[in-house]
Amino acid sequence: MFGLDAIVLARVQFAFTVGFHIVLPAFSIGLASYLAVLEGLWLATSRQVYLDLFQYWIKIFSIVFGMGVVSGLVMSYEFGTNWGSFADKAGPVIGPLMGYEVLTAFFLEAGFLGVMLFGMERVGRGLHFTATCLVAVGTLMSAFWILSVNSWMQTPQGYTISPDGRFLPASWVAIIFNPSFPYRLLHMVLASYLSVAFVVGAVGAWHLLSSSRNSHARTMFSMAMWMATLVAPLQIAVGDFHGLNTLQYQPIKVAAMEGDWDTARNGDPLILFAFPNMKEQANDAEIAIPRLGSLILTHSWDGEIRGLKSFPADQRPYVPIVFFAFRIMVGLGLLMALVGLASLILRRGGQIYRARWLHRAAVCMGPSGFIALLAGWTVTETGRQPFTVYGLLRTADSVSPIGTPGVAASLAGFAIVYLIVFGAGIVYILRLMARPPVTGEAGPRTDAPVRAAGITPGPATNPAPAE
């Protein structure tokens, strides 16, 4: 399985490029909505702090968005370069959905991004707010279509198969609203919001640690913690429903997530930890709680869950990756809910702004949303293997006729370029985050280190200190 043939390399390349990419749209989805909320609050209350936070985060947004655009462009061509057979066979069904993504989402985002970033003085407040909202709507529309595509690959319906093996559309409603789509969409949008909430919370906490009276840091920390308090438990509930849906349509994936080899008679245990062993078809070093697995998955003590061994070996995914990624996601999700709960308790008497341990925890949890998101995608995508279209089209039958040297060379190219480009991007983002937000925060460009301060307007380049 791990011979470095063209298929494995093409999979590694896809995993690498999509792994880098997915973080950025998730960041954009959450941050665009947050920016729309901030600008809306500013227009409604006229409080300077909201405008300052808007200007603070929009600079980070412009970097994130730019990286998301270029890494997404790569994705839109990779189906053809590396997965030509998949494109030819599944194109008639999923191609139009991606076409709709471009038409309804990408153009909308790109069209109004310029106005959102640079147009505040040119178009007036009302129109600018409209532009911000349209960008936010665009990010959500994009999520709608791409998750419909992904969900169709997991739970295909509404198609027929032509004699030459192509998927032909029979019902667009059935294709778009396939069984796993609503759960996956909600799970992903909430994950984006939660990821950004923890980033914003970490930045707020970082600046509270150096000055607990910084009003800007207080506002963003408080907003982020409300999100953690409310959205983290909601996300756990949505995840549970998503899991039940997966059990119904992709039982093998759930068996791999649970590390469940045998079909138990009297309720399945919940395996907390183990090393799944593909060769022995069993777990090493297993720690389990009896019956709890059945309770979670079937909401009954005796519910039967089919084990991996009850499925043919050539339909099983590589279990250890699915198993561990699932545990990382769930563990981080529980920690996020815990932080949200702690912050709720500490709100009494404003302790939330003084509890340094909470701030330290929030700083540590900054990347937790993104890590959980990547782990979650790893579960669902590697759990779909060895198929690209679940149960119907094998990954091995999906690749382009590109030889190993070609795929290896392009993989090396992507690895080098992405590490340089996104490495630099992360440094620039962290640098912006390290600077505390101030009153009269400058917008994009005006704050850029452009030579003499005399050229750009005074107030923007010499902001008054916050305190």
Partner: protein
């Protein structure tokens, strides 16, 4: 949707994909051209002006490339699944180059010191030039034909690398630089604008010579092309194209001589548009010459009709708000004015 199913959908979609590609080349052409001009424009103020003249719109420009690729996937999956593997290295090269130049827009303003900024300026130049070169190779590779067998690409690694495709690559670099120079004549002022007039003269002449070279070479590649361009009745349809190119070229030159601000840009766009019409005439009815026609490559009518509904409604709206974005940022871009 049943009415749509009675139409000649592959032909309509061929036209729409061609429209997306032309929109991409015309729009991203000038902003790639600005990157290419970084090679000869070193002044930091001028570079800021150059970047800021396209910063609010480059993203939308590049989206037409996503529509071209995504659209091909949706409505001509066989073309998508054979062209991209055939042109694999050029496509990967283009994507990596676009990654570099795309992030340079923001990163150059975020670099801490002058050295850092110069590095991203270099990335912006190299990315823009390499993207143009790869697009030229890809275009040439498609024109000279792709060997397809049993719905798969069946040619070699470097089929796309020939003297003809290299000429296309150079032509696109020079042509995009011309578009960039003409854009700056329109949007910049002072010494930068003045220098761009002289860039445009040299680049204009070079572009026309390269167009002539590619145009004479193309019909020699394939008997079908030859028949269409040099023999009756094809020549009745094709001969207006070179004549129009010459007329527009003359207007372009007049614009430069009269120091017109917008005329050179509009003429340069028209020259590019005419070249694409010429390409279309050469290739029709093939989408992957020499064997796959629009109709062979088409997705089932249900797929094409479904997306066509969206395209007919949304493309006009997209054109409206794209025009609005250009309108908001109209006027000369001044030194030190960072769209605050």
């Amino acid at each position: 949707m049943s009415f749509l199913l009675t139409l000649d959908l592959p032909l309509i979609w061929g036209g729409l994909i061609a429209f997306a590609v032309v929109a991409y080349v015309l729009l991203d052409g000038f902003d790639l051209g600005i990157g290419i001009l970084f090679l000869i424009e070193h002044d930091e103020d001028d570079r800021d002006v150059m970047i800021n003249s396209v910063a609010p719109v480059w993203d939308g420009n590049e989206t037409w490339l996503v529509l071209g690729g995504g659209g091909l996937f949706a409505v001509f999956p066989l073309a998508y699944a054979t062209i991209l593997p055939a042109l694999y290295p050029t496509i990967i090269g283009m994507l990596l180059a676009l990654v570099f130049r795309g992030v340079a827009f923001e990163f150059r303003f975020r670099a801490k010191d002058r050295a850092g900024r110069l590095r991203w300026d270099l990335a912006f130049f190299l990315g823009s030039a390499l993207a143009a070169l790869c697009q030229g190779f890809a275009l040439g590779g498609l024109l000279q034909g792709i060997h397809v067998q049993d719905r798969h690409y069946a040619g070699g690694w470097f089929d796309w690398f020939t003297p003809f495709t290299a000429l296309c690559g150079v032509a696109l670099i020079v042509g995009y630089a011309l578009l960039g120079a003409c854009w700056l004549i329109w949007r910049a002022e002072g010494r930068l604008q003045k220098r761009c007039y002289s860039h445009a003269r040299i680049l204009g002449i070079a572009t026309l010579l390269l167009i002539a070279g590619v145009s004479v070479w193309t019909p020699l590649l394939d008997a079908n092309f030859n028949q269409r361009w040099f023999h009756w009745p094809g020549i009745a349809l094709t001969s207006p194209v070179p004549i129009l190119v010459l007329l527009v070229a003359w207007q372009f030159w007049q614009g430069l001589v009269d120091s017109s601000h917008i005329k050179p840009f509009l003429c340069a766009l028209a020259i590019f548009l005419l070249c694409f019409i010429g390409l279309g005439i050469s290739m029709y009815p093939y989408i992957v010459p020499p064997s796959i026609t629009l109709w062979d490559a088409a997705a089932p009518p249900e797929s094409q009709a479904f997306l066509l509904i969206g395209a007919l409604v949304l493309v006009p709206i997209i054109l409206c708000y794209t025009a609005y974005a250009y309108w908001v940022f109209r006027g000369k871009v001044k030194i030190g004015l960072h769209y605050h």
